[in-house]
Subunit: 169 residues, 2 copies
């Protein structure tokens, strides 16, 4: 039977989109090979001078996914080093994130809709949410923001992708 | 008490992001005025030649939001004419969509997690989902795709926006 829960409303969608992102990176690699440029070119692409570059978009998508799952499950958020220097490193980061997202048992999310979630910020007071507001108004839109921006950067760079690659099979 | 339901996992987040989009259009208008160009310039912007332009990104974000709510509530999806020709028209489309999203009572979503949802496609067989899969793997990622692409087009055009404008207050 299909049921909705804080787990079913988060982890499967995050894991699926992370898997989709891996297929975009494969397409990016094939495009670079076909056009004879280094995949390193992708790493510093930006949509605007004051937007974060490609590598950072993927790192933050990863942070958003692992942060969402860990916080809802009441666990410490796993800390990754942000030292990815190649497209392959970024793919590995995505795989590691997806493995973590899938590793947390659904039962750990029980009651998380009303758990208080605190998000530290670089500037200003931390943000406070109940778990459901955090999921709906922060974690999911933020994750999809960085996934979509990753996709948009690749499309802008000529990588042949379409909406079905974004959404996955 | 906070609870998660198909309604609480969809409509409030869609309505909030639609409201955020209105603030981006206000910023876009102010930017055009300050730089002395017509807001019509935004309407045809694309991130890649084979991606849909700005107007279409907003129309599809609207379609994704009203389609999600109507389908989960077991209603016909309201049909809008896609005849928006100005930035103000697009803002009106967003407001109309938000009003619809907020107009459907939460009770109408009851049981929608296991309802069969069929999405017609321009090419190929229709997509079939249960309601929960539709929400998590299609409706939300698709909506956020078009919202984020709208935002990205404005950022690419120099409109001064930041992540907090994307996420809203």
């Amino acid at each position: 039977m299909t049921t909705i829960s804080m787990h079913s409303a988060s982890a499967p969608a995050l894991a699926k989109m992370l898997g989709n992102m891996l297929t975009w990176l494969e397409a990016a690699k094939a495009h670079a090979t076909a056009k004879n440029f280094s995949t390193d070119v992708y790493l510093t692409l930006r949509l605007a001078p004051d937007m974060l570059p490609f590598t950072k978009q993927i790192q933050i998508a990863s942070d958003a996914a692992k942060g969402c799952v860990a916080r809802l499950a009441g666990q410490d958020v796993p800390s990754y080093k942000d030292d990815e220097a190649t497209l392959d490193d970024l793919a590995e980061r995505i795989r590691k994130t997806r493995d973590f997202v899938l590793s947390v048992p659904a039962a750990a999310f029980a009651g998380s809709e009303s758990r208080e979630i605190t998000i530290p910020r670089r500037v200003g007071d931390p943000l406070k949410f109940d778990g459901l507001s955090y999921l709906q108004h922060f974690a999911l839109p933020n994750f999809y923001f960085h996934a979509t921006t990753t996709y948009a950067l690749l499309r802008h760079a000529g990588v042949p992708l379409g909406k079905l690659d974004y959404l996955g099979g």
